[in-house]
Each structure stands twice: as structure tokens, then as C-alpha cells.
């Protein structure tokens, strides 16, 4: 069991605006966990796997992942996370504009935990994020072995 405050949020989102809106709504939902924001896949992967405060080496985390990244596809990152023994239990929330069925199925096949389409209708988007915040507040992230 772990205190939910210690769960750090890793947001991989290339659009600064989206990132800001997501963060605002998470905060409005009352979630105060630390958010690490990355705008490209390479630095995000580096943080996830190699950084000393990163989830692979230090503590539980939750990943908010956008699929359209400038340097790689979000599904590649998803596959790497779910394929690694240290991070495979880390919850991944895919947040993207793609509402293509094939793409959604592919994400779930790769092990994505939640898939949220960013709607243009802001109210429903905000609501989705707030519900995600609720989800974050009750989520129990497994402790990494040996921690």
C-alpha cells in the first residue's frame, strides 16, 4: 500500500495548450500529485527508464500519454512501458484526438488502462479529466519490488 500523494504523474504531450488544460483540470479535481511534463517521446522514455526520480527506479507513477508525438508514435512508448518488467504495472492513460476504432483497440491490446478521446467540446473534456482525477485519487499503484 502506498500513499496516493507519492504517485507521480508523467504527462507526455507535445501540445502545450493541451498539457495546460489537462493540468488545470487535474488540479481542479483536487489532485495535487506532482506532474512531470514532456513534449517529446525520447526525453519522456529517458525519464521513465533512466532518471533517478523516474518511475523505473523510484516509486510508482501514472502515465498520461498522447499518441501524436513529434519524434515517435505514442503507441511505441506504450509498447515499451508495457513490455518492460519494471514499468508494466504502471497505469497508462491514453489521451488523444484519435477516435479511430482500430487505433483504440490497438492501444488496449498493448495494455493501455484507459483511453480518453479529447473532445472539442471542452465541457466534456474537462469532465473526463476530472473523472480521471477521481480515478487517480482511488487508484492503487502497486509498489515496485525492492522499494
Amino acid at each position: 500500500m502506498t500513499d496516493h500523494r507519492s504517485v507521480s504523474i508523467v504527462m507526455i504531450e507535445d501540445d502545450e495548450g493541451h498539457a495546460r488544460l489537462i493540468e488545470k483540470n487535474i488540479r481542479r479535481a483536487g489532485i495535487l500529485n506532482g506532474i512531470n511534463h514532456f513534449t517529446d517521446g525520447t526525453t519522456a522514455l529517458d525519464y521513465l527508464f533512466n532518471h533517478e526520480h523516474g518511475p523505473a527506479r523510484n516509486g510508482p507513477a501514472l502515465v498520461l500519454l498522447d499518441l501524436n508525438l513529434p519524434d515517435m508514435s505514442g503507441t511505441d512508448i506504450l509498447a515499451k512501458i508495457k513490455g518492460s518488467p519494471e514499468l508494466k504495472r504502471t497505469p497508462v492513460v491514453v489521451l488523444t484526438t484519435t477516435d479511430d476504432k482500430v487505433e483504440i483497440q490497438r492501444c488496449y491490446d498493448l495494455g493501455c488502462n484507459v483511453y480518453i478521446t479529447k473532445p472539442v467540446n471542452y465541457e466534456s473534456f474537462a469532465q473526463a479529466i476530472r473523472q480521471l482525477g477521481l480515478f487517480l485519487s482511488v487508484i492503487q499503484v502497486p509498489e515496485i519490488e525492492g522499494d
Binding site: 473532445p119 471542452y122 473534456f125
Partner: protein, 509 residues
């Protein structure tokens, strides 16, 4: 490429063909002439043979005459010497035949003046001789044999006989001369005949060779052109396949483009909408502030501030919202269309009449609402195609018909389907407000609409219908008159055949 080949056919090939035909015509004409010549020489030959035979007949008659005269003389002398009635009898026979024989010679040689003269000389001599002989025979028969012998000696019969013999000899010679001439003529005619035959044989051979050459040439030409045609057909097919592949590739590219663009356009739109909402929230806060300021310190609030917080900002935000919402709908429409192109077509036998009735059922409340009726004309043609796509096409068209009815008259929509060759033609006919001729092709374009904009919609339906019709290997067109009504005609293959282009779209992109 085609044109060049045709020019080649029309140029050298044809002139060679003409030359061959001319040669053959000349050859056949020569052959005909040779045949005519052969007939002519044969006839000539026949005439010569007749002439030769005639000469022989004349010669025979002359010899016969001479024999008869000699026989008569011999019989007379025998009778004079012996008085034997057998001689007298023989003489009578010979004497009786002599004159007719001379007549026959005269008849046979009537065309020859030399012989006519000879016969004229012969006749008195013979007549004289016959008279002398008749006297001798009569005397002897009357028992006056001595007188008869005396007369015989006196008459110098031998000299007359010599004359007759010489004359007959001359006649014979005359005939021999004619015979020689006619023989030569006959031989010449036979030679000419053989010559003509030889020429004809050579001509025949040449014509035969020419004919064979012509036939061979034409056969070869035919084979060549057949091969060329087959080549064209093959290359045409290849070209069609190539073009279709190009088209498909272009189509796929456009779809991918539409997909990516519409997708990437949504991203900034999320921001616009999101921050507009933030602005709205902030505006509410500011409006609250203005309210408070007005209540607590009215002096610091100007009219501009009030307007900005209470009217300008909400109005601007409202416009941003409606615009982004509209943009979102348009982007979604493009997305939907591009997805339609990727959908896998699943052909199955369709009962189109049942399909049409189910469409009527689903639109019944709308029909009732507008006081319109919809008639499904039966029987309708059955097709093998994609159920969903056909249903979407027909229901879109019927829905449009219901939407754009003319309020001045009760709506009447007819849906019918008939077979035309290997195609099925479906018609959706209405008596609605109609479409101006200038808009007939425009209405099938995305986001384009026609007439009074009094109905909700984005101008997507018909673009969607046309994309579906194309996808099913069909076409769509419209016949309409403003104020009278419209008829949409969808032409689909009876049996959906998956083309290469459609197959390649199966691969998920």
C-alpha cells in the same frame, strides 16, 4: 501508337495488296484469252480436218469414176469378144453408176473453178464414150457383132480413153495439190493450238503462283494484325490496370491526407475550445468583480469596462464557440468520408424492395410530419452488394427528398429499381422543390448545398452518397427542374465485383 499502325496498313501494305490484285486480274484475263484462243484454234483445226476429209472424198470419187469407166470399157470389150451376157450385165451396172459418180464429183467440187472446168470437159467425153459403147452393145446384142467390132476399131476408142484418163489424172493431181495445202494448214493450226496451250499453261502457272502469293501475304497480314490487336488489347488492359492503380493510389493518398489533416486540425481546436472555456470562466470572474466594484465603488467603473465584461467578452466567446463547433462538425464529416473509403465492402444478395420498405419504416414519422407519402414500386431488381452502403445511399436520397419537399403540394416520393443490362438502376423521384440546373453537379460536392438554406445540414449527404456509389462501382446523377421535383438515379453493378483497386484498400492503413 494506334494511328501509326493504321497509317502503315493504309500505306505500303495496301499498295502491295492493290498491285497483287491487279496482277491477278491481268493473269485471269490472259488465262481467259488463252482459253478463247484454244477454242478458236480447235475450231480452225476442225475446219481444216473437214477440208482434208473433203479432199479425200473428192479423190475417192475421181478414182471411183475412173474405175467405173475402165470397168465399162473392159466389160464392153469382153462382150464384143465373147458375146457373153455376163459382160453385158457388168457393163450395164458400170454404165449406170458412171454418170451419178461424175455428178457427185461436180457437187463436191462446186467451189473449185479448176475442177468445175475439168468436170465440164469430162462430161462430153464420157457422154460420147457412153454413146459409142451403147451402140457397140446394142449391135452385138442384135447379132451384128462384126459391125460392132468394125465400129469399135473405127472409133479410136483408145485415144478417147487416154484423154479421159489424163483428165481424171489432172483432177486427181488438183486434189492432191489442195490436200498438200490443207495438210500444211492443218499442221500449222495444230502447232498454233499447241502454242496457245503452252502459253495458257505458263499463264495458269503464273496466276496460280500469284494467287498463292496473295493468299499467303494476306494470311500473314491477317495474322500480323491479329497479333498486333491482341498486343493492343493486352497493353490496353495493362494501361487500365496501371491507371486504376494510379487512381487508387491517388485516392488513398487523398484519403490519408484528409484523415491526417482532419486529425491534426482537431488538436488546435481542442485548445481553442478549451481556452475559450477558460476565458469564459475568467469572464465570469471579471463580471463578478465589476459587479462588486459597481456596488462598492461605482466611481472606478467606466461604461467601457461594463460593456467589455458584460457584452463584448461573452459575445466574442460565443462566436468563437459556434465557429469552432461548426469547424468540428466539418472536420468530422471529412473524417467520416475518409473512413468510408477504407471500409471493407461485404457483398451479399439484397432484397432491395424489403430494404426500401425498411427505409420507409424508419422515416415514417418524418413522412407523416410533412404529410408526404412514399411509394416503393415493386418488383425491384435484386443485387449483390454491400447492404450498409446501399441502405445508406437510398436512405440518404429518400431523406433528402423528404427534407426538400415543396410546401405548396403534398409530397410524393417514389423509389423504384430496374435492371439495365448488367446494371441495376435505382431511382428516387420526388415532386419537391427541385434543383437549379447550375447546381446539378455542385450538390454532390462536399459542403455544397443548393436552394434556400432552410434545412439543417452541412452539405455532406450527397457527397457521402456519391462516394459510396463510386465505392460500389456505380455512378449517380440527377435530373431535376426547379419547382417541379428531382429524380436521383443510382446506377450500380448487378453483382459487385471487387476490383484490384478495391482490394488494395482492404489492407488497413
Amino acid at each position: 501508337m494506334m494511328g501509326r499502325v493504321i497509317r502503315v496498313f493504309g500505306g505500303t501494305q495496301e499498295s502491295i495488296g492493290r498491285l497483287l490484285i491487279a496482277c491477278m486480274a491481268v493473269g485471269f484475263a490472259a488465262l481467259l484469252a488463252a482459253g478463247g484462243a484454244a477454242v478458236w484454234t480447235t475450231m480452225r483445226n476442225q475446219a481444216h480436218t473437214d477440208a482434208v476429209n473433203h479432199t479425200y472424198t473428192v479423190k475417192l470419187a475421181i478414182a471411183q469414176t475412173r474405175t467405173l469407166i475402165e470397168q465399162g470399157e473392159t466389160a464392153r470389150r469382153g462382150y464384143l469378144l465373147t458375146g457373153d451376157p455376163d459382160y453385158r450385165h457388168n457393163y450395164a451396172i458400170a454404165a449406170a453408176q458412171t454418170s451419178p459418180e461424175i455428178d457427185s464429183i461436180a457437187a463436191l467440187t462446186a467451189d473449185n473453178p479448176v475442177q468445175r472446168a475439168n468436170v465440164a470437159t469430162l462430161r462430153p467425153l464420157v457422154r460420147n464414150l457412153v454413146a459409142q459403147r451403147g451402140l457397140s452393145i446394142a449391135l452385138t446384142a442384135g447379132g451384128r457383132a462384126n459391125e460392132a467390132v468394125e465400129r469399135f476399131v473405127a472409133e479410136k476408142v483408145a485415144r478417147r480413153m487416154y484423154q479421159i484418163r489424163a483428165l481424171l489424172m489432172r483432177m486427181g493431181d488438183e486434189e492432191s495439190r489442195l490436200l498438200a495445202i490443207r495438210d500444211a494448214e492443218q499442221r500449222a493450226a495444230v502447232r498454233a493450238f499447241y502454242g496457245v496451250l503452252a502459253v495458257a499453261a505458263v499463264l495458269l502457272l503464273m496466276v496460280a503462283l500469284l494467287s498463292i502469293a496473295t493468299v499467303l501475304r494476306y494470311t500473314r497480314d491477317l495474322a500480323n494484325s491479329r497479333d498486333q490487336l491482341r498486343g493492343f488489347a493486352d497493353s490496353l488492359e495493362e494501361q487500365v490496370v496501371e491507371r486504376t492503380t494510379d487512381l487508387t493510389r491517388a485516392n488513398e493518398e487523398v484519403q490519408r491526407f484528409a484523415y491526417i489533416v482532419s486529425h491534426d486540425l482537431r488538436s488546435p481546436l481542442v485548445n481553442v475550445m478549451g481556452f475559450t472555456a477558460e476565458l469564459e470562466a475568467a469572464t465570469a470572474t471579471i463580471a463578478g468583480l465589476i459587479d462588486r466594484a459597481e456596488a462598492e465603488a461605482p466611481g472606478i467603473v467606466t461604461e467601457d469596462m461594463r460593456l467589455a465584461a458584460r457584452e463584448d467578452l461573452p459575445e466574442a466567446i460565443g462566436f468563437i464557440r459556434t465557429s469552432t463547433q461548426k469547424m468540428d462538425r466539418l472536420i468530422n464529416a471529412i473524417l467520416k468520408l475518409s473512413r468510408q473509403g477504407r471500409r471493407v465492402i461485404a457483398p451479399e444478395p439484397l432484397d432491395t424492395a424489403a430494404l426500401a420498405k425498411s427505409i420507409r419504416g424508419s422515416l415514417q414519422h418524418l413522412l407523416d410530419d410533412r404529410g408526404a407519402e412514399m411509394i416503393v414500386e415493386e418488383p425491384m431488381v435484386g443485387i449483390v452488394s454491400d447492404r450498409l452502403a446501399v441502405e445508406q445511399i437510398l436512405s440518404n436520397l429518400v431523406e433528402n427528398a423528404v427534407k426538400y419537399l415543396d410546401p405548396k403540394r403534398p409530397g410524393r416520393i417514389v423509389l423504384r429499381g430496374a435492371r439495365e443490362g448488367m446494371r441495376a438502376v435505382f431511382e428516387v423521384e420526388d415532386n419537391g422543390r427541385g434543383i437549379a440546373a447550375s447546381d446539378h453537379s455542385r450538390i454532390f460536392d462536399l459542403f455544397r448545398r443548393s436552394g434556400t438554406q432552410d434545412q439543417p445540414g452541412e452539405g455532406i449527404g450527397l457527397a457521402h452518397v456519391r462516394a459510396l456509389a463510386y465505392r460500389l462501382g456505380g455512378t449517380i446523377d440527377v435530373a431535376s427542374e426547379l419547382g417541379r421535383g428531382s429524380t436521383f438515379r443510382v446506377n450500380l453493378p448487378l453483382i459487385y465485383a471487387e476490383t484490384k483497386s478495391n482490394r488494395s484498400e482492404r489492407d488497413p492503413a
